[in-house]
Amino acid sequence: MNDMRVIERDVDVTETKISARGVQVYYADNHAIKDVNVDIEDKTVTAFIGPSGCGKSTFLRCLNRMNDTIDICRVEGEIRLDGEDIYDPAVDPVQLRAKVGMVFQKPNPFPKSIYDNIAYGPRIHGLARNRAELDEIVERSLRRGAIWDEVKDRLDAPGTSLSGGQQQRLCIARAVATEPEVLLMDEPCSALDPIATSQVEELIDELRANYSVVIVTHSMQQAARVSQKTAFFHLGNLVEYGETGKIFTKPEDSRTESYITGRIG
């Protein structure tokens, strides 16, 4: 089916940004991801949907090796970013995570000022030559995170002094400050009000012009609104992956249909 949303921002022809082959994830004996194969496109928003515990966050964390930090977690298979195996021993996970940024399910600001939360990444990656440039990056990032107006007068206040929804937007601002090529977002809007949610969705759509965005969401409407591709996970399996318009109007698999229409079974 063609995507009928002709008013969407134009992007170049899509090509694969991340390609996963035969990915298995185990937490000790728990087989959490079962033989997942998927090509995530560049300049595209991909939504991961599925019931709680189906492995969305687990698979998302594979894409920037965040699972390395979990002792009992074992990842098998192959994941390539621009054709390069990200699990190759030669790959530095810190460098990888600068390229593949992440916004977590729960906001996790550093115990530092709002300003430093944003400036941290650009500083260590040498993105600013002087204070003025850094100021500019901080303001631009906070604006993209849809939180600038609320914090511009108290950039020295600790990030943890913000409300939950504000902290989440701060984390989004922090994630885009280093200009990653891929942005992974795990339920970024679960603590946000509708206005902030719209602002974040608008940001996601903007980012799509240059980046590949993967978003985990429990809101079917959000997945439908922001993504061009949708992947439905169920019990660790990738059940269906395809164009979002098709998934939400004519899903192939009855498990997908039950899930998106809110049915039992």
Binding site: M220, Q221, A224, F248, T249, K250, P251, E257, S258, I260, T261, G262, R263, I264, G265
Partner: protein, 242 residues
């Protein structure tokens, strides 16, 4: 009614069932309207014809209600996949049923005029048979909808060809009458418009049957070939609707 698998939110099931119940109610009124209109014509019953005209209001009101309910479900429940198809299909079906009701009303109006004129032999019997066939198709289309029976729906679509044939035969017959005696022209023109109305009803019934196939498969069946003689490619909305 729609899917064996129930929604977790049972109110959603109730909304969808309620809106489909409205469609069935509307379908029942439209079926009755066709029967009565054909009967009024065959028996030259002016009173019954008047009743058909008045009853059309209830059909129009139901169409309004279906559209309001559909808008409500879209706004409140954001239906997707098969649920979305249910909503889209009831909107199309209600508009098709409303059109059939209008055509039936127009038939009743012309009956009111025809009873003032001398009868044309045999013509109304054929019209009644044609109306009965369309009504049977409508009944089957509605049954197919309730049962989600794509086979029955396809059967209805195929039978529309017969209706087109009946119309073609009547068209020739009326032409002959008019050529035989120009005093028949006014009455025959009315009868011809009635035949055309019934033929158009068949098209709307076909549109309803197509919705059953859409519900099941997500695809609307391809373009049909028209079999009647005078409908140009883009087919005007009959000549007698109002």
């Amino acid at each position: 009614m729609q899917d064996d698998r129930r929604h977790i939110a049972s109110a959603f099931d109730r909304d969808l069932e309620a809106i489909q119940a409205l469609i069935m109610k509307m379908g029942g009124l439209v079926e009755a309207s066709i029967t009565e209109a054909a009967k009024a014509l065959a028996t030259r019953d002016e009173e019954l014809a008047e009743e058909v005209r008045l009853n059309d209001k209830a059909i129009d009101e139901l169409e309004e209600r279906v559209n309001e309910e559909a808008a409500r479900v879209i706004a409140l429940r954001a239906p997707t996949a098969v649920d979305l198809r249910v909503i889209l299909s009831v909107m199309k079906m209600s508009s098709a049923l409303e059109r059939i009701g209008d055509l039936s009303k127009n038939m009743a109006k012309r009956t009111g005029v025809l009873v003032q004129m001398p009868q044309i032999n045999g013509s109304t019997t054929a019209l009644k048979r044609m109306a009965r066939e369309v009504e049977a198709m409508l009944k089957d289309a509605l049954d197919a909808y309730i049962q989600r029976d794509a086979e029955l729906a396809q059967d209805v679509i195929d039978r529309d060809g017969d209706v087109d044939q009946m119309y073609n035969a009547l068209f020739r017959e009326f032409l002959t009458f008019m050529m035989e005696d120009p005093r028949n022209i006014t009455a025959c023109m009315h009868l011809h418009f009635i035949a055309k109305n019934i033929e158009r009803m068949g098209d709307h019934v076909t549109a309803i049957a197509e919705q059953v196939i859409f519900l099941r498969s997500g695809e609307v069946p391809g373009d049909r070939v028209k079999h009647d003689l005078i409908t140009p490619d883009a087919g005007p909305e009959g000549s007698g609707g109002d």
